[in-house]
Subunit: 262 residues, 2 copies
């Protein structure tokens, strides 16, 4: 790691925390209120809350780091060829948000030449925050956290947001893996990955994710000692296919990737 | 309603709140801590947290209302032929509890000659409580709440805890109904019913429930203007078959029951 790089991420981490602090009251103002729900072309829902939070965060980034690029779920990409790119999902788990479930979260990543070096997962309704920066332990509400030592799928608690995210040929590998786990459970959105980093569950297997869904998770999971890749075991990047396998240990991750592809 | 009955339930409601106040710190002491997890004969998990909370509550009931019967998930039934029977699920959503998800809850019902006249759903990790008593509006954190005015499945947000609760022939009717909803979502345990009473979602359809899972929900849903029955549209009682259909309005409930049986 080049000298100075770590302190750059410290500054970025403080800024990411400021983004989350600013976003939280806006999201909570709309939470459990009657909202018009629009279905996007991919039939995922969006509300004024998603758009308002993202606009606020993009404004803060533009003002503080005008040279950086931004990719957001609701308002697209700007200057994506910049050395640094911020990636934003203003409300991950919009279906939870619009149904009063407090597990929705804000996701922020900072990419340094395409590599996620900072990830933030913030749950304003739960007042829980995870922050990962490359080369440092992930912080859960400011304290270092660690994924637990589960090395076998037969002993693992595995989460996915919904069986309905596995379209077509993705369904069968997911069923094969998840039914071999000690326990499989649905729901959670980004909160499931945060619980993995926090040592509460052991694995998350999903598909159909977008870069703003999965890139912020990479530093959070890796900084807690876990492993997160695509279903082939390849590092996640802007161009990944949206299939994600995250696990508490290298051994468990290898078993999951192996079974996904067997 | 006989004179005095309502005030009897007021006293019982204050006692139910005292049960929840006593249970909360005990449940939270075990939450997100390493726990030995035992699989019961029905393969549902149980921990020392479930058993400790239930023992505490049974002791409080025995001391305050020695003539009342008690039915609890972990320690069985006592004096079930009493006029009044308390029904307890110390930790509904043990799978959530053991995986760090804060949506688990305490469930308490009071049966008066078999009829649930009081229901309490308490989520200590979320600090949210719903209390329903027959003939009075359901209270959400002490304030009256109301299910919303959704009358058609095509407009409804529908929850179920997991697709895995629908065994054998229960699967197809659930798929038929849930895929006709505007949105279907998994996860939530008893919290989904509480969100229905709170006007956040519109329907919950489940199977495989036990009396301590569903009886406490009846006064909570009905006191918020909603409808909750078995899949045939019959009132829920100790002898129901564990299939539950809850909806925000009579019209939506009728459509769901109709489709479950078509």
């Amino acid at each position: 790691m080049p000298v100075g790089a770590s302190s750059d991420w410290t500054e970025a981490a403080a800024f990411a925390a400021a983004l989350a602090d600013a976003a939280a009251p806006v999201a909570l103002r709309y939470f459990r209120q009657p909202l018009a729900i629009e279905d996007k072309p991919d039939s995922s829902p969006v509300t004024i809350a998603d758009r308002t939070v993202e606009r606020l965060l993009r404004g803060m980034i533009r003002e503080r780091f005008p040279a950086d690029g931004v990719l957001g779920e609701e308002h697209g990409g700007e200057a994506l060829d910049s050395e640094r790119v911020w990636v934003l999902d203003p409300i991950d788990g919009t279906k939870s948000f619009i149904s009063g479930m407090p597990t929705f979260g804000l996701l922020v990543a900072l990419l340094d030449r395409g590599r996620p070096v900072l990830g933030l997962v913030d749950h304003p309704a739960l007042k829980e925050r995870w922050l990962g920066t490359a080369g440092a332990p992930t912080l859960w509400n400011g304290r270092p956290c660690r994924a637990r030592d589960c090395r076998h799928l037969a002993a693992a608690m595995l989460y996915a947001t919904s069986p309905d995210i596995f379209a077509g040929a993705d369904r069968e590998p997911f069923e094969r893996v998840s039914r071999s786990a000690r326990m499989r459970r649905f729901g959670g959105d980004c909160f499931a990955y945060a619980l993995l980093a926090g040592g509460c569950i052991d694995a998350v297997v999903e598909a159909g994710l977008q870069p703003y869904d999965y890139l912020p998770l990479v530093p959070v999971i890796e900084g807690a000692g876990g492993v997160i890749t695509d279903w082939s075991g390849e590092r996640l990047g802007l161009g990944s296919d949206g299939r994600v396998a995250a696990a508490a240990t290298r051994e468990l991750h290898a078993e999951i990737v192996d079974r996904l592809n067997s």
